[in-house]
């Protein structure tokens, strides 16, 4: 039987226009209702709440933009923004660098590679709260295993999360330990799909390993790197569980990020109006950063 080309004229008439919409809109209705109830309504309600002075025990008073005005004059919020950005920059940079490096390592063939990969991604599979509790015990200045190990090699004890100066770098260390595997997996997926020919040509031309990485691997897996970066930025900006469990925002407010301040305002002080204003500003911040990063996809390295 010979194959015959199908022409547009052979296809059944496609419903279109007003009739098409009238017949099929109801199929989209359940999804639209879910989106409205679960996403749109809470957002609209949050916007409304941000315009009120609203304590859970009292009545809500309309205050217009007063909550936002207070927010921009609140030094505690200002410092929370600074800490959030400081934490995010480090909690993105370290996992990205180490994750890309690990992906390159794991893309080469060596004995027990599968076992090594499995072990490498184990931190990512653990629950952040459980991880936080374990790290908290390990960080204890007198009883923690980390200072014991330092003592074994003759180093003095370190304050870890128990000092205002070292708390954020220490939290970044936990984040790096947990999320480097995710970056590795994403980038490794990109590397696995790369053609071999450019590398063969580069070897014939006498390119070094670094040159092959810089001028072949990175440009070709760039979309994967950007994707991993965007995921990490969003994740780092909204980190809550690890910080909440390990430091609770302390010592003092030394690790109080926007998320921690938001939680404390809404659920510690029961100030829902001001908490909603923080949410909206925080959302705008995440949106801006994410859009800037996605624009990076169009920039070739």
């Amino acid at each position: 039987m010979s194959a015959t080309a199908t022409t547009a004229g052979d296809l059944p008439a496609r419903p279109h226009g007003r009739n098409y919409a009238r017949r099929y809109w109801m199929f989209a209705l359940p999804a639209a209702i879910v989106v409205f109830v679960v996403i749109l309504f809470p957002w609209l309600f949050t916007i409304v709440m941000s315009l009120f002075s609203w304590q859970v025990t009292g009545k809500a008073d309309f205050v217009g933009l007063a909550n936002f005005n207070q927010l921009f004059h609140d030094p505690r919020f200002g410092w929370a923004v600074v800490r959030t950005l400081y934490f995010t920059v480090m909690a993105v940079a370290f996992p990205m660098v180490l994750g890309i490096w690990a992906a390159v390592c794991f893309s080469t063939k060596f004995r027990l590679r599968g076992v090594a990969r499995t072990i490498f991604i184990l931190p990512m599979m653990a629950t952040p709260v459980a991880i936080g509790l374990v790290w908290t015990m390990m960080f204890h200045p007198q009883l923690g295993v980390l200072n014991y190990l330092l003592h074994l090699v003759g180093l003095p004890p370190f304050a870890w999360v128990y000092s205002v100066n070292t708390v954020i770098p220490t939290l970044v260390m936990v984040e790096t330990w947990q999320w480097t595997p995710m970056v590795m997996l994403i980038v490794l997926g990109g590397i696995a799909g790369l053609p071999v020919d450019p590398y063969e040509a580069a070897i014939i031309d006498g390119a070094s390993t670094w040159q092959m990485f810089r001028f072949i691997t990175v440009p070709m897996v760039w979309p994967f790197i950007v994707f991993a970066g965007v995921m990490r930025v969003i994740d780092a900006l909204k980190t809550f569980d690890t910080i909440f469990v390990i430091t609770g925002g302390g010592p003092g407010t030394a690790s109080e990020t926007i998320n921690m301040l938001l939680y404390q305002t809404a659920f510690g002080y029961y100030n829902l109006g001001y908490g909603s204003a923080i949410v909206l500003v925080f959302f705008a911040l995440i949106l801006l950063v994410s859009m800037a990063l996605l624009a990076l996809r169009r920039v070739q390295p």
């Binding site: 025990t57 007198q142 870890w160 128990y162 430091t247 003092g252 510690g268």
Partner: protein
């Protein structure tokens, strides 16, 4: 000869007798089984008090035939969860255990918990052995809302005292000055030995400061709860004491210590004194977890320049007004705050009983005699450790941050001044609402 009518009457009377006897019995013996088959959900704050309730839960189920589903959550999670669920009007629990010094005014303002006064007044609903009059005056004051409502029953009274390592000091100092000197003498960081440990973590650290402030015979607010007394010379003296003893003689990293870290450090045997709640004794004297289990001393809070007081806090347990099984829940509350459970609490070392009769019980067997004696002496000098205001969490955060800054070297007077100015409008707003 017995007539047919007489026989029928006699038979009917005989058949009715059990019902009559049962009715008579109801007036003399309380019917704990009246809600058999019902299920109640209980939300507990993680603590020795909650451990006590869960350890004996099966006894309540056997007594009443009521099934209990209970869960313990750490206080940092349980407190907001309780308030948010009550405020939303559809709580997932029927009974809730909470810290009165944190949540009393919030739940009172919202009127989310059942007013228990009608229950207490009704002998059909309240067992005669419950004996409400047995609760101490301080506990009754603690559970009574400003408008007179009683929406919880007292579970425990927490008094603060000083645990000390008898290997390092044979006797607890009598005054705060002596305590500072003793801490200085014991302190030897090169040998990993420290004189004193107390909470440095923001929010949790405020009762340590207020404990010292009580030595100046002062609270943090005026009796009408309207004016802050947090930047007075007395408050500054207490802040300076807090700063000195924690920054000079406590283990490194104390700025991030809550009671859990303090307890662990103390149990390792390299800390001389630890100021905290009476309910933290059990692990200290447990050979399985404590290196100094047979050297734990329990001392009364030392006297300050003007007075000798210790900080006091209370736990309560109440019923959600929206609960569908209120009467069954009330049976649970009676059992949980009854004489036997109060005795169990003291015997396990989990805290002070709010009931007067507990201390004359023949079966009273506390973890150590010294612990009991110190606890009883502390109850006599106890004063509220935190102000009874709605925004108490914000109060603890604002002043807790100031205290952590002090440990880091900040000036006491300016930190307290700044914190007081920051909290003034919050307090004023809460009073308006």
């Amino acid at each position: 000869m017995i007539s047919r009518r007489t026989l029928l009457t006699a038979t009917a009377a005989t058949l009715a007798a059990p019902a009559i006897v049962s009715e008579v019995g109801a007036t003399t013996a309380f019917d704990w089984k009246r809600h058999k088959g019902q299920t109640i959900v209980v939300s507990l704050t993680k603590s020795p008090r909650a451990d006590n309730l869960q350890a004996h839960q099966k006894e309540f189920e056997a007594l009443t035939g009521i099934k209990v589903i209970s869960e313990q959550l750490p206080e940092q999670q349980q407190r907001p969860k309780m308030v948010m669920e009550l405020a939303a009007g559809n709580p997932s629990f029927d009974v809730t255990h909470f810290s009165l010094h944190v949540s009393k005014r919030v739940v009172g303002a919202g009127k989310w918990l059942l007013d228990l006064r009608p229950y207490l007044a009704d002998p059909k609903l309240t067992a005669p052995e419950f004996d409400y009059a047995d609760f101490g005056a301080g506990a009754v004051t603690a559970i009574t809302q400003p408008d007179g409502r009683i929406d919880s029953m007292p579970v425990e009274t927490d008094v603060w005292l000083v645990y000390y390592n008898k290997k390092m000091l044979p006797k607890m100092p009598d005054t705060l000055d002596e305590m500072m000197q003793t801490a200085a003498r014991l302190n030897d960081p090169k040998k990993n030995v420290y004189g004193f440990v107390g909470r440095g973590l923001k929010n949790a650290n405020v009762p340590v400061w207020t404990s010292f402030l009580l030595g100046e015979n002062q609270l943090t607010v005026t009796p009408d709860n309207k004016t802050l007394l947090t930047d007075t010379p007395e408050a500054i003296w207490a802040g300076q004491y807090y700063k000195d003893i924690l920054s000079k003689y406590a283990p490194p990293g104390v700025v991030g210590f809550n009671w859990y870290e303090c307890q662990n450090s103390f149990m390792q045997g390299n800390v001389g004194m630890w100021l905290d709640g009476v309910g933290f004794c059990p692990p200290l004297v447990d050979p399985k977890v404590s290196k100094i289990y047979d050297h734990v001393g329990v001392g009364l809070m030392p006297a300050g320049p003007k007075a000798r007081h210790c900080a006091m806090f209370n736990d309560g347990i109440g019923i959600a007004a929206k609960s569908k099984v209120k009467d069954a829940a009330w049976l649970y509350v009676q059992w949980a705050t009854g004489k036997q459970m109060a005795l169990n609490l003291v015997n396990m070392g989990g805290g002070a009983s709010p009931r007067v009769s507990t201390y004359t019980e023949p079966n009273l067997k506390p973890p150590t005699k010294e612990w009991l004696q110190t606890m009883l002496a502390s109850l006599k000098i106890a004063e509220p450790g935190l102000p009874e205001i709605i925004p108490v969490t914000e109060f603890r955060d604002v002043f807790g941050i100031a205290l952590t800054n002090m440990i880091g070297g900040a000036d006491v007077a300016s930190e307290l001044k700044k914190a007081t100015e920051e909290f003034k409008p919050v307090l004023a707003k809460s009073l308006q609402s």
